[in-house]
Amino acid sequence: MPDETMVGSDAKGDCRVSLVPGKSLAIEVATEDPRLFERGIREVVEEALAKLGRIRATLSIADKGSLNYVIAARVEAAVRRAFPEIPAIAPKVRRRPSEKDAPRRSRLYAPGNNPRLLVGIELHGADCVLLDLEDSVPPAEKPAARVLVKHLLGAIDFPNEVWVRINPLSLGGADDVREIILARPHGVALPKAESKDDVVALSRELAKAEQAVGVPLGSTWIMPIVETAKGVLHAEEIAAADPRVTVVAFGAEDFTRDVGARRTLESLLFARSMIVAAAKAAAVQASDTVYADVDDEVGLAAEAKLARDLGFDGKGAIHPAQVPILHAAFTPSEKEMDEARKIVAAAEEAEARGIGAIAIGGKMIDRPVLERARRALRLADRLGGQRASQSIGGDGKEAR
């Protein structure tokens, strides 16, 4: 029964670990070049086992160029499959603090049980990486995926935000939360959010998990993904459901399927506008759906521009190559920045003089306009020097 005891795969960058309980511990290592790799692999296996307790079993590992954290994850998953009572490893975590209104121009998805696509996902400059436990992971692989995502979160010092898309609570989402909270992602994305109750239930699970492992209460954010007819109609209560909600995302693929629509700009306009209005009414961000055709850069840029025009703060990406295009679309242009600087300067001057109304060249500036200007400046401030590195020749600045 190899499926019962085996974790991982023979794919490049992965390893396969199987475990047969026995009287004492034995480790068998197979790797492409044992002279180079066996000692290191053995050491990583032993280190992971030591954290799990006294394991009596024969553990076999077949390596296909897997990194240390992948090996540790596969070992832990195999051990806990064989000995379900063994508690999960809590990795050491270096997580950079973020803020609720941090830029999230891009949220880059990566499949949670595929080391080949996970390795290096932090390197592509995405404002927000989303490690996926939901659609990209087959049901049988969910336990192993949770553990792998946890070890990735522990091993990598993400330069920006890192989130985890969990499964709906009815489909193992609570198990996802308990596992990944050990490695402190900035937040979790909740797929198929349809009501306030869905969000509140997740918030409770997060609170329980945070308390259980000593993470500050309320520190894990929520990104509800609205991707059904019901979800769109309840967008307002979803966005306002809980203080953890930071950004509301739109999922067009499921939405079009749910309502029987074809995917066109017009058919999605209502849902998009609902989500933007709901998010902004609740003073949180809105993030647009992914664009599935990786090779169509022009189409992606056009859709990103539309999303920006509608008021979205960012958009999903399914491939690293999409990230710079999104950043170009959602970064304020030099012209917008100049305008924002003028507005903020006028406001400061008005305040200094004790004048209530703000005007530039005789034109009155409303409060929301001032707020938007301030937001643009804060965003630009945060992005700092990172803009130019995202694409050749810094063309991103002129794209809008």
């Binding site: 070049d33 002279r35 390197l123 690293p320």
Partner: protein
């Protein structure tokens, strides 16, 4: 003795006495080159012989002599095996092979080494032959590896005397004029062996297509050629694009390519007339493509692009993004086709390209170059010859020549391959010294050679992720170490020559592991 890089080099290697590497441009020569053979000709001579055996017989090839070949058919070459097989059938022994490069298709040479037909090899060994000799396969003398320019120099200087040159050509005339551009199975330039033909005591053109006089372009000329043999097959042009020429799809590698191109764009060299080398390999190809996009956007017309010719270079030429291609060997069929028809697609021989002991190298005119690496180290030294397990797997190619010449040499390499870290404290073998390397680009960011503070400033200004090389190393090490390490014995398997003929490093036999 220790050379200028602190590498331990024996005073003699096999029968040669060794001059240690002293610096990239330390060695200075003047005087005269080795003499070329001289022979008067009269009208009416017949050079066409019926078989390889007849030609071998006619050249007077004897045991212990040196035979040379070029590699422009790369993985598709059919001539080296045919010639050595013929030598074996004729009972010849103890031959020294002096190819420009060997590939996987030449794996059967291992049998000829075992049986004693071949006892010495000087030339790039890509794949099985290199693996065999570094695992204890016995050659009478250690191998010598040279760069493209270094090999040319070694012939002209008399360091290597060739007895018979066998020149594969897709087209030739009966009088010995030959080329790789025309015929049914063209492979692109065959000028690597121009110098072989001129200096060898005897030269044999081996072709599968006899054309009316004169066969052109005149890559190989009648005045250098003694005999012409027609065979069924000289090479398969489909296989010149072997392996390394696929455009990469890996996000990490595309990121490396993007950063490498961004580095050139951010440099002071990114201006009208930019000239650069675009190598083979998925990352170099992608970097060349990204750079082309940036040039188009910035409306910059490049001077020349150099390298093994590729489809991407030809497209740049057609779009008007560069004025000229300087092409030493074609890497795909589109480059081969372009060579025959476009006067701005210029055939370049390795002497023109990179001969250190000449009055000028084309590589010295390069602004920027993208080159690969198997390993790099904290001193920016690069290894392209040996695998981290000590096996000799690759030739030098133009790596040293281009790095030494280009104003800005950019090494593109992932920080990790499988479980292998690519950045080390010390490379297993030095192919190219850190002295001539300016930037190392990995998917984790760029490391700039400390002597190029000017470039570092440009990169920081442009917002590129500049990192300390030790920091990059530590980051990658954390993901894959610890790692086993080969222990080398004293026995030298191969000498790595710097392009000036001095020895920059040696490859030793692996004795054990720690």
């Amino acid at each position: 003795m220790k050379n200028a890089l602190g590498r331990e080099i024996p005073k003699t290697i096999g029968s040669r006495s060794v001059e240690a590497y002293a610096g990239a441009f330390a060695k200075k020569r003047s005087g005269f080159k080795a003499p070329q053979p001289q022979k008067s000709s009269v009208p009416g001579e017949n050079k066409v012989l019926p078989s390889l055996e007849a030609a071998i017989e006619a050249t007077g090839l004897k045991d212990g002599m040196t035979i040379s070949f070029h590699h422009s058919f790369r993985e598709g070459d059919r001539v080296i095996n045919q010639v050595v097989d013929a030598c074996a059938r004729m009972g010849l022994k103890d031959l020294r092979l002096f190819p420009t490069a060997l590939f996987g298709t030449h794996a059967k040479l291992v049998d000829h080494i075992k049986s004693g037909v071949v006892s010495r090899i000087e030339g790039s060994m890509n794949g099985p032959v290199g693996a065999y000799i570094s695992q204890g396969g016995k050659l009478r003398e250690p191998a010598t590896l040279r760069s493209h320019g270094g090999r040319w120099r070694a012939i002209e200087s008399g360091d290597v005397a060739i007895d018979v040159a066998f020149i594969a050509a897709s087209q030739a005339d009966a009088y010995g004029n030959a080329n790789g551009i025309n015929g049914r199975t063209p492979c692109g330039p065959i000028t690597f062996c121009m110098v072989d033909a001129q200096y060898a005591k005897k030269s044999v053109v081996v072709t599968n297509e006899l054309a009316p006089y004169p066969a052109y372009p005149l890559e190989i000329q009648q005045g250098w050629v003694d005999y012409v043999v027609v065979v069924d097959e000289v090479g398969d042009p489909e296989q010149i694009a072997s392996g390394t020429l696929e455009m990469t799809k890996s996000p990490a590698r595309l990121r490396i390519a993007r950063l490498a191109a961004d580095a050139v764009v951010a440099s002071p060299y990114f201006k009208e007339g930019l000239s650069f080398q675009g190598g083979a390999g998925g990352v170099s190809l992608a970097a060349t493509m990204y750079l082309a996009e940036a040039m188009e956007k910035a409306r910059i017309v490049g001077g020349f692009v150099m390298g093994g010719g590729t489809r991407i270079m030809v497209e740049m030429l057609h779009k008007g993004l560069v004025r000229t291609i300087l092409d030493g060997q074609a890497f795909d069929p589109i480059a081969v086709a372009s060579l025959g028809v476009d006067p701005a697609h210029v055939i370049m021989n390795p002497g023109l390209y990179a001969n250190y002991d000449s009055r000028g190298c084309a590589t010295y005119m390069l602004d920027a170059a993208f080159l690969g690496a198997t390993e790099v180290d904290l001193d920016f030294n690069v290894n392209v010859n040996t695998h981290s397990d000590g096996r000799l797997l690759h030739g030098i190619g133009g790596h040293q020549d281009v790095a030494a010449g280009a104003k800005m040499t950019v090494i593109t390499a992932p920080s990790i391959r499988g479980r292998l870290p690519v950045i080390l404290d010390r490379v297993t073998t030095v192919t190219t010294p850190g002295e001539v390397i300016d930037v190392i680009v990995t998917e984790r960011g760029l490391a700039v050679n400390p002597k190029r503070g000017d470039l570092k400033e440009c990169f920081l200004e442009a917002g590129l992720p500049v990192r300390d090389i030790a920091e990059l190393k530590a980051e990658a090490d954390g993901l894959v170490r610890p790692l086993g390490k080969p222990v080398f014995g004293d026995e030298v398997v191969a000498a790595i020559e710097w392009r000036d003929g001095t020895v920059i490093d040696v490859v030793r036999k692996v004795e054990g592991w720690q």
